[in-house]
Structure formats: structure tokens, C-alpha cells
Assembly symmetry: C2
Homo-oligomer: 154 residues x 2
DNA sequence: CTGACTGCAAACCCTTTGCAGACCG
DNA sequence: CGGTCTGCAAAGGGTTTGCAGTCAG
């Protein structure tokens, strides 16, 4: 299963204009790698992208794929599932709660929400399989990091 | 900031009974490590736990901390934030959507939900800092893995 | 042309594992 | 006492980085 063709080319156009705006170079490798991610429904990892891209550019290296994926991520045209460059983290709070994750420092803060707890999942979510847990992940920049950024600008 | 004392001892009691029920041994190291995680509000990583625990058991090794955290996780008395033993995954779908993550095979499936999109976050979440994105993460065992499990049992 | 990008290889970091001795129950 | 658990050290796997050559703009 692939993302439909029109959507892919729309994404590619967005990518091209983003790369231009950033003053970066549109290389063959970057284009092919982006196309691969943009047309996949499976949230591929670097290795998977690498294997797929190698069919079109047999000489490409895994490092370039890594570098390019990070580049695309910084550019904002792809996102990474779970800001998980980090180490594994543990939590002994087993009651139902949600997370606020700081994209800058990685800190995770809990919050509760009755409204969120009461929500019913759409059928499209349920039919994927059994459900063990449901929680909301909010990402942003925490107050401490925001403050730090303002101080730098001064 | 620490978790309040009563809550910690409640969690420790639960831990003790869980370890007994599992027929595992309650060692000094396990107790101290669990206490540390249970009294922290910061979702510590292995390194952080290690540094804290070393104050009480100076000879403890980082490996033991890792082993114990995984043990606690298998025991079900702590959970790990984001099932992220895995590699990093990327997504070029920037429109608002949510994820169903299979705990078994790691596959991630998208789903949409108007109801979820319309939700307003509680103040306690907003006041942590700026908000970049909000999405729901549902964890479970996907149909394919469920089927695989049934086949094994047969 | 020139600085940014790529491929190669080696380093890096977090995490896991094999082993022998120590300790819980 | 027996089997589990710990500490040590070394390996493992994913990811990043330094370097020199290459290529887009």
C-alpha cells in the first residue's frame, strides 16, 4: 500500500519550496529519500528507507540516509514518531495520565484530563487490534527552555 | 519535587506483592531502584536512576540498573515512556492524525478522529510551555500479531 | 567556482549479554 | 543449599561524525 500519487507530488512540491527557502541544495539523494518517505504509509525507519532507496541509487550509503532524514526533520517536512533520539525513560505512575514532552530538553511532565479520559476512540483505531493503553502526547517547548532561548537572543 | 511519601510507600507495597507473586527475589538493589523510580516525578532514564541509587549503594553497577528497570517493566510495576527500544521512525504525513502502535511488532498505523481533534487541553497541560503538536497514542497488539499468537497456542 | 553534500570508515552512545561469584528464601 | 541475582567487562546495534572528494547553484 502506498500514499496516492497526487498527495506524494504535492508533498514533493512542498519539500522543494521548503528546501529552497532554507537555501539548501536539492540533491538527487535528498529528492529520492524524501519521495520514499512521502509515499510510504508505514513510518519507515532509516534502514527501511535505505533498502528502498538503494534500488534507485545503488551507491547510496546508510549514513546519507540518516543525515538526510535528520535534515528533513529539521527542515520540518517530515516528523519523527516519538522524539526518541533519547534514552529510554521509566515511569512508576500507573494511573491514567498524559504526557507533555519538551522537544528541546526532553523533559516529560504528566497531566490529567477527565475530558481526554472519557473520549471514545474511533472505529478506525479500534479495528487495528487489541487496545492496551491510550494516552495523549503533547509536544512543545517547556517554559524553562523558552526562557533560555529568550536569554540567548538578548 | 518528589512524589508524596504515602504514595511512594503504597507503590512499594504493590511492588513487593508483585515480586512475591512472580516468585522473584526481593533484593536490596531492586528495592532501592524501585523506590527511586517510584518517588521521582521526572520519568528518569537509567543513567539518572543509577546516579541517584549510587548514593545509597555505591557499588551498584549501571548494568544492574538496566536489568532491574527491564525487570520492573516486565513485572508491570513501571512502564516505559514510548515503546522506544526501537529505531527511530519517520513520517511525511504532516496533517493532524493519531497513532496506533503495536507493542509486539512495532508497526504504527495512522487514524483520524474529529472528536480527538476538537478536544481542548486542560490548563495543567498548557502551562508547561508552548505547544507544537498534540496527538493520541494508542498502544495494543495488532490483528496480525494476535493471529500469530493464537496460531502458536494451537 | 565554492561551499554544501556525499561516501567511507571509524567512533559514539545506550543497552544487552556471558561469566563467575554472592546472596535471597 | 539451589537457583537467582549482581558486578565486571566486553560485545551489540543504531546513529553520528571527520575527512576528502564531488556536485548543485
Amino acid at each position: 500500500m502506498k500514499v496516492d500519487e497526487f498527495e506524494v507530488s504535492r508533498r514533493v512540491e512542498e519539500f522543494k519550496s521548503a528546501i529552497q527557502k532554507a537555501g539548501a541544495k536539492l540533491t538527487h539523494q535528498r529528492l529520492i529519500i524524501f519521495q520514499e518517505v512521502a509515499s510510504s504509509l508505514e513510518h519507515p525507519d532509516a534502514e527501511t528507507v535505505f533498502r528502498a532507496v538503494r534500488k534507485q541509487i545503488p551507491t547510496i550509503s546508510l549514513d546519507t540516509v540518516y543525515r538526510t532524514l535528520n535534515f528533513l526533520s529539521d527542515l520540518g517536512v517530515v516528523s519523527s514518531l516519538s522524539p526518541c533520539r533519547e534514552r529510554m525513560r521509566f515511569d512508576a505512575n500507573l494511573s491514567r495520565h498524559h504526557h507533555y514532552v519538551c522537544l528541546e530538553c526532553g523533559k516529560v511532565m504528566d497531566f490529567k484530563s477527565m475530558e481526554l479520559d472519557e473520549i471514545t476512540l474511533p472505529v478506525s483505531a479500534m479495528e487495528n487490534g487489541s487496545i492496551v493503553s491510550t494516552h495523549v502526547e503533547v509536544r512543545g517547548i517547556c517554559n524553562l527552555c523558552l526562557k533560555r532561548q529568550t536569554e540567548k537572543t538578548d
